[in-house]
Amino acid sequence: MDFEFSDEQRQLGEAVAGFLDKEYSFERLRAIKRSGTGWDPQVWQGLADLGVLGINVPAAQGGLGFGPLETLTLMNACGPALLLEPVLSSAVIATVLLSEYASSAPAALLLGAMGRGERIAVLAHFEPDARFDVGSVAASARADGESYVLDGHKAVVLHAGLADTLLVSARTAGKTGEALGVTLFLVPRQTPGVRLDEYLTVDGQRAADVHLKGVKLPAGNRLGPAGNALPAIEAALDVGLAALCAEAVGIMQALLNATVEYLRTRQQFGQPIGRFQALQHRVADMVMHLEQARSMSYLATLRCDSADAAERRRALSAAKVLIGEAGRFVGQQAVQLHGGMGMTDELKVSHWFKRLTAIDIMFGDSDTHLQRYAALTRGEAA
């Protein structure tokens, strides 16, 4: 049992935090948000130069070949900066997923380019009726000679508009909800029949609903054998969920620090409002939520690539429940304790709050995962 990070892991976190301190001020963040583009390509290239985009790229493709712990230190550092760029969707989830198929030439090529910051790929998987159920895929891929023809609708695909390649899941066999029959395809975004309806999300990131209508792809764009992609997609999303938890912890820490600072300086009734016990106890509650969340983020990180699927699922759902609730609590209280100022766009507090709100919803909110956890542990002796 050991809760220390290695020197290498610490240095990675410090390097990212140092870079973002310099290059990603709150003013810059607001400017990017106002621009509506959802990202800054220069920052993206800076992250690539730092090696960050290659941490999940296998060494054979020129990456660092690191794992969940390094991803945790990266996401911990990205949280406070509220980085809008597609680190989670491309450099974590899509990269981890493609690494499963690194033996195929197109995937290997793409991975190498992603690590260098030259290309961006994101997973387009969840559908409007799936409500966070990873197994619920209705989109279809019909074999047509040497090609496949894809039809379907993918909902709220993060950073789809920034990506040159979409990793699209579609059924080559079976019915919606069945575990077998889901296949993964590399879909260049410019392929005829691919339509993106893009929008900004509450946290200032960009997302899109992806409509596929008669999208014709060469058979070479199929990743792996037909019908068996679901386990790899789940595994990549599990690593992504742990990364999201780590980001949330970074944000909660930043919100706590900002709130304590505000309570020490804001004067009312002739004294700093931090002298009032009602507010002190709220801060104590925030501290407890944060530390419990940090513990669960460690658990999620250490279990997210476990070979024992039941153990992995249990740990990740438990973490998402606790961190979703903690994030809601810490975010809401931070706004409350900042009073009217907490409601403004001018303070970073409201921006952190909105990102925590998004994080609770992403990949299933706390209720969804509570039910999942209960189903997994029901009838089991403690």
Binding site: M1, E4, V283, Q292, R294, R303, L322, Y373, A374, A382
Partner: protein, 393 residues
């Protein structure tokens, strides 16, 4: 970073388990696992067996008969003991007064008092709280006046846990009424058989007799029973309060009670199905289990940071608050799981012949009794004050 225990700690855990399996009497285990009150003799017998194994005083330094275990090993020992149904260690001797005697007592006091604490021969209780001194402990008023080789003690202590069993009491008394509150206090060790001491039971809301008032009327205490210096008692008291942290969250006990809750939920029926399969009830259990999982890791983080050299932060208060909240939540859900059979008053219903399932007989008492957890040892509100202070507020 890794969550798994080292191979060394794992084999230690096995050692503890097999000791518990061999030496923990079945009657005692059954009482603990079913929430039935233990008798004094049960506690003493178990302490004796631990002592005979060399595990009577786990947290003490080796030269005083301690085990020399790491914080992690102590944690493992306490977790396994609780899960197996061993009696909880009565903390007042082993975990409270002994560390003070070791740190501040004379060699003569160490020789006289420590061995019988470890062997279970002497039972200690605590004389801290007074009717007017609860969370604000330093406002205590029990007086001790020096008269030759003795202190003459007059006053009243309250919330004294299991004092009816005790051979000795450690007391905070005021020796300098002129001094500022915290600087006129002295730490005395008092023989409960001393003339002038009377112990009166306080009946609690669960009908149990767990705490007492202790009255002192011209009680003569030899000066040799003073720990450290006169008027420095507050320093020793604070040391005592900050000392014990390995089991403050009560993880092992909470795991045991959670398992019991699940067994009850498996037996109770709702709409012809086990209550544990009811989605709402299953979610309530799951939510507690998730909190407990997080707290266990938080606790392990604190232990592993302690073996390093970090300055103490608000961790102890976090562990106390979350640990007691979880234990209370489990006892509440257990009571609710039992349904209508949580209602009959146990003693009377036992005489009439208990009609409900056996587990239902103890759940209401336990629920009522566990409300104490967020009050004693520094109320949870005081703990929040401490956390806020640590945060710079």
């Amino acid at each position: 970073m890794r969550l798994d225990f080292t191979a060394e700690d794992q084999s230690f855990r096995e050692q503890v388990r097999s000791f518990l399996k061999e030496r923990l009497p079945r009657e005692i285990r059954d009482k603990v696992l079913n929430g039935i009150e233990l008798a004094r003799a049960d506690y003493v017998l178990w302490q004796r067996r631990l002592h005979d194994r060399g595990w009577g005083a786990t947290g003490w330094p080796v030269q005083f008969g301690g085990t020399g275990w790491s914080a992690v090993q102590q944690y493992i020992f306490e977790e396994e003991s609780a899960k197996a149904g061993a009696p909880r260690m009565i903390p007042f001797g082993i975990k409270m007064v002994a560390p003070v005697i070791i740190a501040f007592g004379s060699a003569a006091q160490q020789q006289k008092f420590l061995p019988p604490i470890s062997s279970g021969e002497s039972w200690w209780c605590q004389g801290y709280s007074e009717p007017g001194a609860g969370s604000d402990l330093a406002s205590l008023r029990t007086r001790a006046v020096r008269e030759g080789d003795h202190y003459i003690v007059n006053g009243q202590k309250t919330w004294n846990t299991l004092g009816q069993y005790a051979d000795w009491i450690f007391c905070l008394v005021r020796t300098d009424p002129q001094a500022k509150q915290q600087s006129g206090i002295t730490f005395l060790l008092i023989d409960m058989k001393s003339p002038g001491i009377s112990v009166r039971p306080i009946e609690l809301l669960d009908g149990g007799h767990e705490v007492n008032e202790v009255w002192f009327e011209n009680v003569r205490v030899p000066v040799e029973n003073r720990v450290g210096e006169e008027n420095r008692g507050w320093t020793y008291a604070k040391f005592l309060l900050g000392h014990e942290r390995t089991n403050i969250a009560g993880i092992g006990g909470a795991k045991r009670e959670l398992a019991r809750l699940k067994r009850i939920a498996a037996e109770e029926r709702k709409d012809g199905r086990p209550l544990g399969e009811d989605p709402l009830f299953a979610a309530r259990i799951a939510r507690i289990e998730i909190d407990l999982t997080a707290l266990e890791i938080t606790n392990l983080r604190v232990l592993s940071a302690e073996s390093g050299s970090r300055a103490p932060g608000p961790e102890a208060s976090i562990l106390k608050i979350k640990g007691t909240e979880i234990q209370q939540a489990i006892s509440e859900l257990m009571m609710r799981a039992a349904g209508a059979y949580a209602l009959p008053m146990r003693r009377e219903a036992m005489e009439a012949g208990w009609q409900g399932p056996a587990y239902a007989a103890t759940v209401m008492g336990a629920y009522l009794n566990q409300r104490k957890l967020s009050i004693f040892g520094g109320t949870n509100e005081i703990q929040k004050n401490i956390i806020a202070k640590m945060m710079g507020l």
